[in-house]
């Protein structure tokens, strides 16, 4: 299996897929900002952006373009290298997570099976877990490099929060792993395709994962690190132009990926009811599957926003108590109950 | 890839770690070098595990378990070590181990 005897079609196929996924994530992220404002407006009974383009649809493009042309400011006291490194890592991590998510089943193009998953590795969940936990570097480095008290405080908060919620998240995933026996996301989806969605077996696990996902993405009600009124905007206080954009984008991409992940792990991913009984062309099923996954993901993105404008922000001590004293024991209990039930069923 | 590559890589990492421990003066960096040594060992352990598994040893998995234990112990050391370094820092406002020689006698 050397690189010389490589299948070039495979490379091209993967390159196209990667570009597709990256563009998709960016577009979704961009329009999430628009969505966010629209949802907020809707919930608060106002209009939201409506000037740039139809229903303000060009607003994200304008925002993005503006970021490019803003002045790049690096404070004199900051560590220049780390200052640039911070947002880069945040963005990089956000872009890497999508690699193991199965966006759909296999397409057959010109007799060639083309998987809609960039890489089907047997440790998919762990990969995501690993990459996501790198994300804290971006925040930490960015906050520290700014040499600003607010930034530093925010980044320390963020780091504490993220690592605290990683524990219950990991435990919730262990319960899932006990059920599926596989860490490959593809397998997990395939199992759900032929059976019930995992949320049925793992309601508690789903809930824990969902809460943790909120905390991991620094989304309200856990958006302490960027609490505007106490921290002047948090760890990206000193940032401007596209570096600020990266931090913001990364957050939205993370939200997108988290939603996709929740959909994949607990809601069947690209599977939808009766998909194997419709008698459609396999390619058609695959495309429908992708659409199904996308819709589920959009729903969760909406859910993220919905919560943001519904639930007030937690206090930091409440946040930590929830994470350590409620989520961790809950996740442990969930794991043990899952294990016991699976064993009981086996015998 | 032949296992020798892994051995050489690990030994190289290990030696970098050892040199770091012996030459650096910053307690945190020394500590990171120690971690590097442990990780070099982990890598080597896993490669040996693979090597013996290929050679047909049925219990080659034990080396991978060993790696788990090394990680656990490393974590415990991280916890204790960082606490100690913090304590020293709070008292001396420095993590330079040369400061320790001042404390002698």
């Amino acid at each position: 299996m050397t690189l010389l005897s490589i299948d070039w079609f495979f490379i091209i196929e993967k390159v196209l897929l990667i570009s597709g996924v990256l563009v998709l994530s960016l577009v979704v992220a961009m329009y999430s900002t628009w969505g966010e404002r629209k949802v907020a407006a809707w919930i608060q009974d106002r209009l939201g952006p409506n000037r740039a383009g139809f229903m303000g649809l060009l607003q994200p493009l304008a925002d993005g373009g503006k970021l490019f042309f803003k002045e790049e400011i690096i404070p004199t006291n900051a560590n220049r290298f780390l200052f640039v490194l911070g947002p880069s890592i945040a963005m990089l991590v956000a872009c890497m997570t999508s690699a193991v998510i199965p966006w759909g089943d296999t397409l057959v193009i010109a007799g060639r099976p083309v998987s809609l998953q960039i890489a089907d590795v047997n440790i998919g969940i762990l990969f995501i877990f690993g990459v996501v936990s790198m994300g804290v570097y971006g925040i930490m480095i960015g906050g520290w490099a700014s040499n600003n008290k607010y930034s530093l405080l925010a980044s320390v908060r963020a780091a504490s929060q993220i690592i605290s919620y990683e524990l219950p998240m990991g435990l919730a995933l262990i319960a899932l792993l006990m059920l599926t026996g596989s860490l490959s996301l593809k397998d997990i989806v395939e199992q759900q395709r032929h059976g019930l969605w995992n949320v049925v077996y793992q309601p508690l696990g789903f809930f824990i994962f969902l809460v943790c996902a909120f905390a991991e993405c620094n989304r309200a009600p856990f958006d302490l690190p960027e609490a505007e009124n106490e921290l002047n905007g948090g760890y990206h206080l000193e940032y401007s132009s596209m570096k600020l954009g990266f931090f913001l984008f990364a957050e939205y991409i993370n939200m997108f990926i988290s939603s996709a992940l929740i959909a994949t792990m607990y809601f069947g991913g690209y599977a939808f009811p009766y998909m194997d009984k419709l008698g459609l062309d396999p390619n058609m099923v695959t495309i429908l599957g992708f659409v199904a996954l996308f819709l589920k993901t959009l729903f969760f993105i909406f859910f993220f926003m919905w919560v943001r404008w519904t639930v007030p922000r937690f206090r930091y001590d409440q946040l930590m108590r929830l994470g350590w004293k409620i989520m961790i024991p809950l996740a442990l209990v969930n794991m043990l109950i899952t294990g016991a039930l699976v064993l009981a069923r086996q015998h | 890839m032949p296992v020798q590559y892994y051995i050489f890589l690990s030994i190289a990492l290990f030696c970098i770690g050892v040199m770091g421990v012996l030459m650096r003066r910053n307690a945190i960096i020394i500590f990171m070098c120690i971690e590097l040594m442990l990780n070099a060992v982990n890598l080597l352990m896993v490669s040996f595990s693979k090597m013996w598994a290929d050679a047909g040893r049925v219990d080659a998995g034990s080396a991978q378990l060993f790696v788990f234990f090394i990680m656990v112990v490393a974590a415990a050391e991280v916890a204790v070590g960082l606490a100690i370094i913090t304590m020293v820092y709070r008292n001396t406002h420095s993590v330079d181990i040369n400061i320790l020689n001042r404390l002698k006698n």
């Binding site: - | 080396a63 112990v73 404390l103």
Partner: protein, 457 residues
């Protein structure tokens, strides 16, 4: 096995005792009760191993030797608690936690006496080491304590790295972690294993502070709170030796290569003896002197490892008992004094005859004067080396060093008995005196009838 379980559980229990019991005296009683239970539980296992040991899950081998050594370690700790248990309060707030950490160390020691797998060796060494890093730094305000802790930690984890590399290389050569199946005593040894063994020797020497890997010892022992130095330099060090001994005896015994190891180890031993003794001579503080003397005593215990025979195995048990009891006793009295220098002992015999007499007996024991346990301890390790046959030069060095050791041990006796002075001594309780007399009695009884301990072997 019982010792392992009971000490580990006791550790956990004491952690929680600290949460719920406020009175520090009560915590001490809890600890003493726990160690008594562990001691009895350990002895209860003796009948089952009397005829021969057994291996559990390929990880732990319960042997007579292990049970006996655990008994010594637990007994010495019991004595330590009785003598110095109330000193814990002076170190800091977290008395129960200190006790708990000591129990965890004991769990590590009992693992070190019974491992049959390199994984367990590694764990044993780490379980023994990590709590020590904390104990060394327990006096958080003292810069010396901080220094000791940091130094010990850095050096300790460095040696852990080396130990692990050694284990890994041996695994690479042998394909197993089972110490009895390593086959390192065979005619030809894989070069990887050779490197591995050397690294392991280095790392273990580090843990038992053998020269040239001893440099951390004096500073650490000097800087740590005295009450913990007392424990670290005795029971824990002996535990390290047992790990060393077990590893070497099981894996290398009877092999044709043992000649090479004997040479390397002999050189280490000789260096340890010479350096430990000569450095101890020049110390002004008794605490520091004891630190160096612990290096010197380590040299004697290394004999047992070098000799690799039955005599050595018995010797290490007796040596551990004799050395631990005596050193714990000296430290216990030392802690009652304000001044840790030799001058601080001036005239102690007049002011506190009992304390002085006890210290004198302990120092006799450390110096190896007959009718104290220390004599037979030295006798056994020297016998082991002489029986081995090829290291007589080492034996001669050892006795020369033993004569030097008299010099610094007797400095304390001279100060106590032959010099005038008004030492500042804290008032000692009746319980303390009783425990001290118990320790003296133990030293003397073991010195007269060492077979009381060895008949169990």
């Amino acid at each position: 096995m019982n010792a392992l379980i009971s000490t580990a559980l006791s550790g956990v229990v004491l952690m929680f005792v600290g949460l719920f019991v406020r009175n520090k005296q009560h915590i001490k009683f809890f600890a003493i009760a726990a160690i008594l239970i562990a001691f009895i539980a350990n002895l209860a296992q003796y009948p089952s191993v009397e005829q021969g040991g057994y291996i559990m899950y390929g990880m732990i081998e319960v042997t007579k030797f292990g049970v006996l050594f655990n008994a010594v370690a637990l007994g010495a700790t019991l004595l330590y608690f009785l003598l110095s248990g109330s000193e814990f309060e002076k170190v800091g707030e977290h008395v129960a936690d200190y006790f708990a950490l000591i129990f965890f160390i004991l769990a590590g020691i009992s693992l070190a006496t019974s491992f049959s797998n390199l994984l367990m060796l590694f764990l044993a060494i780490e379980i023994m080491s990590i709590p020590q890093y904390i104990l060394a730094g327990a006096d958080k305000k003292s810069l010396k304590s901080n220094e000791a802790s940091l130094k010990y930690f850095l050096m300790g984890s460095f040696s852990t790295g080396i130990l692990l590399m050694g284990i890994t290389l041996i695994y690479g050569a042998a394909g197993t972690f089972d110490i009895s199946a390593l086959g390192l005593g065979a005619e030809s040894v894989h070069p990887l294993a050779l490197c591995g063994i050397i690294l392991m020797v280095f790392a273990l020497s580090f843990k038992v502070s053998a020269v040239p890997f001893h440099f951390w010892t004096p500073d650490v022992y000097d800087g740590s709170p005295t009450v913990f130095t007392s424990f670290m330099s005795t029971v824990v060090k002996a535990g390290g030796f047992v790990a060393f001994l077990r590893m070497f005896h099981t894996s290398f015994a009877g092999g044709s290569i043992s000649g090479h190891w004997t040479l390397i180890l002999s050189i280490i031993t000789a260096a340890t003896l010479i350096l430990g003794n000569f450095s101890a001579v020049f110390q002004q503080s008794v605490k520091r002197m004891l630190a160096y003397s612990s290096i010197a005593q380590a040299g004697f215990m290394l004999f047992a490892v070098v000799a690799m025979n039955n005599m050595g195995t018995q010797g290490i048990i007796l040596y551990s008992a004799a050395y631990s009891i005596a050193t714990i006793g000296v430290f216990a009295v030392l802690m009652k004094l304000k001044d840790y220098t030799f001058e601080g002992f001036n005239g102690l015999a007049r002011k506190e005859p009992l304390l002085a007499a006890a210290v004198a007996v302990f120092l006799f024991s450390l110096a190896g004067i007959p009718i104290t346990a220390g004599f037979f301890a030295k006798y056994f390790v020297l016998s082991a080396a002489i029986e081995h046959g090829h290291i007589l030069w080492l034996v001669i060095i050892a006795v020369l060093c033993a004569a030097i050791s008299v010099y610094y041990y007797f400095r304390v006796i001279i100060a106590m008995y032959f010099k005038q002075g008004e030492p500042e001594v804290e008032p000692v309780s009746g319980g303390f005196k009783a425990a001290l007399i118990l320790a003296v009695a133990l030293v003397l009884v073991l010195g007269l009838f060492p077979n009381l301990l060895l008949c169990w072997m």
